[in-house]
């Protein structure tokens, strides 16, 4: 599509010009997209004087590592980090377990009403969260679960989300049927097939679900906002919000904590990029 601007060039010079234009756009836009994260990193290591300086200081000298320490202790971030990790791990485990169970049922086992229930599952994908938000809150209030981690963890053990079930079911359907038949003939129960054949074969798809589950719970703001009220129960998202609410903000400390919250997500992204992209792509295929 870029060729259109290059009509007057011919052959090789046209190719060179096209490549140059592509790189120009990539570099220009790439700078704009990369800049905020670089600014986040750079500010988190600045001294107070360097924060508002012009021309902007991109590489602080010296690195003020103390920002992290001061910010960390100012808001009990050790505890927030622990709480967030606990919720994320427990909820993601639940999602992996129950979503893969449901997906196995939908992909491999025939039972009455299966197609109908699967259609219901797909319909819930489109259900806006606001329409269940308030009654769910009232349910947890009734159960006496407010200001505990339970509302943020327990629902994950009930199917783990329609999208993940859909994603896993699509993957399970690609596995060769003969393998399951053979196992059945050899007398393996469906439970054994699930644990000893299906799960080990599905590591890539399960990794995708694990990564998305991790992101979902790690980044969640609305859930903790509604359900957690005492500061010792706070997650990182709520801890970081306290910085936003302060009247006197020390931005280098706010950036330090924002970076700490972002770092695990970026690390997971870099180490598991292929699973990550696969999951995003799956969201597009279902249309």
């Amino acid at each position: 599509m870029l060729n259109i601007y290059l009509g007057r060039f011919e052959g090789k010079s046209r190719k060179v010009a096209q490549a140059a234009l592509v790189y120009l756009l990539l570099l220009g836009l790439g700078f704009l997209f990369a800049m905020p994260l670089v600014w986040l990193l750079s500010t988190s290591l600045k001294s107070n004087e360097q924060v508002g300086m012009w021309p902007p200081v991109w590489i602080p000298y010296p690195f003020v590592w103390q920002n992290f320490f001061v910010a960390w202790t100012s808001g009990n971030f050790g505890l927030y980090f622990f709480n967030t990790t606990l919720i994320t791990v427990l909820a993601t485990v639940g999602q992996l377990l129950t979503a893969s169970m449901a997906a196995f049922g939908f992909a491999r086992l025939r039972f009455p009403g299966r197609e109908f229930l699967f259609a219901v599952l797909l319909a819930t994908l489109m259900l806006p969260f606001v329409v269940t938000m308030i009654p769910t809150f009232i349910l947890f209030k009734y159960l006496g679960w407010l200001n505990s981690f339970k509302p943020l963890i327990v629902p994950s053990y009930f199917g783990g989300g329609a999208f993940f079930i859909f994603l896993l079911r699509q993957f399970f359907k690609t596995l060769p049927t003969e393998m399951f038949e053979q196992a059945t003939i050899d007398g393996a129960s469906n439970y054994r097939i699930y644990f000893q054949i299906l799960l080990p074969l599905s590591k890539p798809a399960l990794s995708t679900v694990a990564i998305f589950g991790f992101m979902q719970h790690w980044n969640d703001f609305l859930g903790p906002l509604i359900y957690l009220s005492s500061p010792e129960k706070f997650t990182l998202a709520l801890g970081l919000r306290q910085f936003i609410q302060r009247t006197e903000v020390r931005y280098q400390e706010m950036m330090a904590m924002a970076l700490l919250m972002t770092l695990p997500v970026l690390l997971v992204f870099f180490f598991f990029q292929q699973y990550f992209i696969r999951g995003v792509v799956m969201t597009g295929i279902k249309g």
């Binding site: 489109m126 308030i134 992204f269």
Partner: protein, 331 residues
């Protein structure tokens, strides 16, 4: 269905299974399979009842009552809806703000996202590095990225206004404290996360066979023509998907609006002069700040109904512009 083959493949032993009536309960094997299937989907099914269908129905009931979550709900009939639609000016402020944002944010998501994907689909050295650069912002936790933008958009010493002033001599606006600029700030923030949609498009683009473009080139089609005649039709299901999900998501945007709106103003966040009073923020304030659960439920149900109507309209219109390569196998 592929599972049908379970009963063949070992000759005589299972032959009898095939000849029996097709009822699920006909053979012990099928009975066990059906039983196991129900066991495996049971956690999801219970969750569906407890956390989705139950609350869904309860929400509608609450929307017809006055309910502070302490005393039992008081029946009101349609009064909440009536009060919202004709008696509450702030509801219409919230609708205006939300629709403003949806229009300003979804169009770039759909159009710029596609153009960006086309750019990143070029065969150029180091292209994967660029893909990473554009995609990364979309995975940054929202609270972190909003913190970052609050700093970058600071009136006096934010990077944006500093650059505008020092480089271009322009005195930048009060991004976050002016009612005119708070929504554009939000759009700016959403543009940074455009890479999420871009990746979906990129996958779609890579599914278009190269031969189509080659054939078009041989027939003398220019780049613009192949874009409109090949790229757009082939990727139209993805465009529809990004559009529908973008609209559903943007109508429900909460976290960044709530965080930006609560920066300097009271506890019930709504931004400078209610300029960041969005639909879901309004629901949150009514429900969790004023404990008007019935009123908030009615607001949520109105949003739900609107989204259902909008989605149905889009599916209806989709028949005119979305091209499915293989209607028969497309599920």
């Amino acid at each position: 269905m592929s599972q049908e083959s379970i009963s063949i493949s070992d000759g005589g032993a299972t032959e009898s299974l095939k000849s029996r009536p097709r009822s699920v309960w006909a053979s012990p094997l099928r009975r066990r399979e059906a039983f196991d299937g129900i066991v495996f989907i049971m956690p999801w099914f219970l969750g569906l009842i407890i956390f989705i269908l139950g609350p869904f129905a309860a929400g509608f009931y609450y929307s017809l009552t006055e309910y502070d979550s302490l005393l039992p709900p008081q029946w009101l009939g349609l009064q909440n809806y009536q009060r919202i639609l004709v008696g509450d000016d702030r509801f219409w402020v919230a609708v205006y703000n939300t629709v403003w944002y949806v229009m300003a944010a979804v169009a770039p998501q759909v159009i710029l996202g596609l153009l960006l994907a086309i750019l990143l689909n070029q065969k150029a050295r180091g292209i994967t590095v660029f893909r990473t650069v554009f995609f990364m912002p979309s995975i940054v936790p929202i609270v972190a990225s909003v913190s970052l933008f609050i700093f970058i958009l600071h009136d006096r010493f934010g990077l944006l206004n500093e650059t505008l002033y020092q480089v271009f001599g322009i005195v930048g606006p009060n991004w976050l404290t002016s009612p005119d600029w708070s929504k554009p700030s939000l759009v700016l923030w959403s543009l940074w996360g455009i890479g999420g949609g871009m990746i979906i498009y990129l996958a779609g683009l890579q599914g278009i066979p190269e031969t189509l473009y080659e054939a078009a080139a041989i027939d003398g089609a220019g780049a613009l023509r192949s874009f409109w005649k090949i790229t757009v039709p082939m990727i139209s299901p993805t465009i529809l998907f990004v559009l529908i999900m973008g609209i559903i998501g943007s109508f429900q945007i909460f976290t960044p609006v709530f965080l930006l709106g609560g920066t300097n103003y009271g506890q019930a966040a709504s931004g400078p002069m209610d300029s960041l009073l969005f639909w879901v923020v309004f629901i949150y304030n009514q429900g969790f700040f004023y404990f008007r659960m019935g009123y908030a439920s009615a607001l949520a149900w109105l949003l739900f109904l609107l989204l259902v109507i909008l989605t149905l309209i889009q599916f209806r219109l989709a028949g005119r512009w979305v091209y499915y390569e293989d209607e028969a196998t497309n599920r």
